[in-house]
Subunit: 252 residues, 2 copies
């Protein structure tokens, strides 16, 4: 029974800069790939503005129906950084200064102009929280129960994920294999659906492209079971070859 | 009164490939920028898997509270393309073959191996829908009331947005100006918050970075009123200069 349980996470991306189109988000893909290595499936993502009610709604809906909830963005020292207050409100707890975070910020800013009220804002956490180490800058990430509050700047987020690696309980990672083919997906759509149906526990995604004047597709097979995955990949390759289209293992 | 109404849109990104981290989404930023030119604000985004209930929930929640709803992904010919069925279910209508879409697909595939059942799947629409022209390939986008069903492949989405340009009612575009400064945002956080408070109708976002061994920040001021925007930018520039930090108009 335990082997079939799927562990899920949701992600709330907090930031007007993503919704305005100014900044291209990179945290969805980064966190998705990292989660999968932990055996956790990214099940849903919401991008919300820097508005407390929007953050509270997303956090409370998603934390209730997933094993883990991650947020990115809004934990800096400026007036538009409202994530900690919003999450405290969502949890119905107060905001406190975390003594370790305060000490870390004092140390970090000692040689950088000294601590200020604004900088000390980054030591504020929802009451009851622990810290997630941040080796890139002075401000830590924050963990409160199943909620993980991360930075918005991707390389700082990466450092925080690194600190969490191997600490979250997960299940089987979702494995994948890609078969590429210089064929329009519409030409072999039926074959694709039939192959998926014949291989329980495998999903096949079809991703068409157009390169150098030629249409092609990558078929991504996903399963938590390596044998099922390999069987499905072999069957799909054979089926494509049988109708005259070379299957390229690893994708194009 | 009409000048102050804010028109909003939401976006539902449909696709296991985004949630698995395999594909980096590009449609959020592309659609956000396009919407702003139409005078429409992207208010929220959800990324959901290729699962009907997840699509139905997101579509019904977001279309009710925004002027427009866009979706991307899942409108191709293969078994994993379930967007049309899911949106029809969300609307409580049937799925029909759209005669113009069928004719366009017949024409498009005439020189490409002929029409097939799988290819004809791309002519299926929720009953009552109109088409959105697609000049890149045979399959059109779909409009049903305030819902716009778009392709997932970014350059095809771009062609569909092009076809919609100038056809949607909007309000005032959100204007922006960026002031860059080689300063840590934590150093001038108070100045930033005070400047925003003193300029009604303006929001200031603070986006720190670290380049060539130096910390800096871009401050993005947003407003629908050009005069208010310029006044706020001038005040922020003067305030930064006054504390010894050169303000760089246009950002760094």
């Amino acid at each position: 029974m335990t082997t079939t349980r799927i562990w899920t996470a949701a992600l709330v991306v907090i930031g007007d800069e993503i919704l305005s189109g100014r900044t291209q988000d990179k945290n969805v893909a980064q966190i998705a790939l990292w989660l999968n290595i932990q055996g956790i499936r990214l099940a849903e993502v919401r991008v919300v503005p820097d508005v407390q009610e929007a953050i509270v709604e997303a956090v409370n809906t998603l934390r209730a129906r997933n094993d883990y909830l991650f947020t990115t963005g809004g934990i800096g020292p400026t007036h538009d950084d409202i994530t900690v207050d919003a999450i405290a409100a969502a949890l119905g707890v107060g905001v406190v200064i975390h003594p370790e975070a305060s000490a870390a910020l004092h140390r970090y800013y000692e040689a950088r102009g000294g601590i200020t009220e604004a900088r000390l804002r980054m030591a504020r956490v929802p009451d009851g929280a622990e810290l997630i180490p941040n080796r890139m800058s002075g401000a830590p990430g924050i963990r409160h129960g199943n909620i993980f509050i991360m930075a918005g700047v991707p390389h700082i987020t990466a450092g925080m994920l690194d600190a969490l690696t191997g600490t979250l309980e997960g299940g089987l990672p979702l494995l994948s294999r890609t078969i590429g083919c210089w064929v329009a997906e519409s030409e072999i759509a039926e074959l694709l659906g039939d192959t998926e149906k014949a291989h329980e526990g495998c999903q096949i995604g079809s991703y068409p492209f157009f390169r150098h004047g030629q249409v092609g597709s990558n078929f991504v097979i996903r399963s938590t079971d390596q044998m099922a995955l390999d069987g499905c990949a072999a069957a799909l390759g054979a089926a494509l070859d049988a109708v005259g289209h070379e299957a390229i293992d690893g994708g194009i």
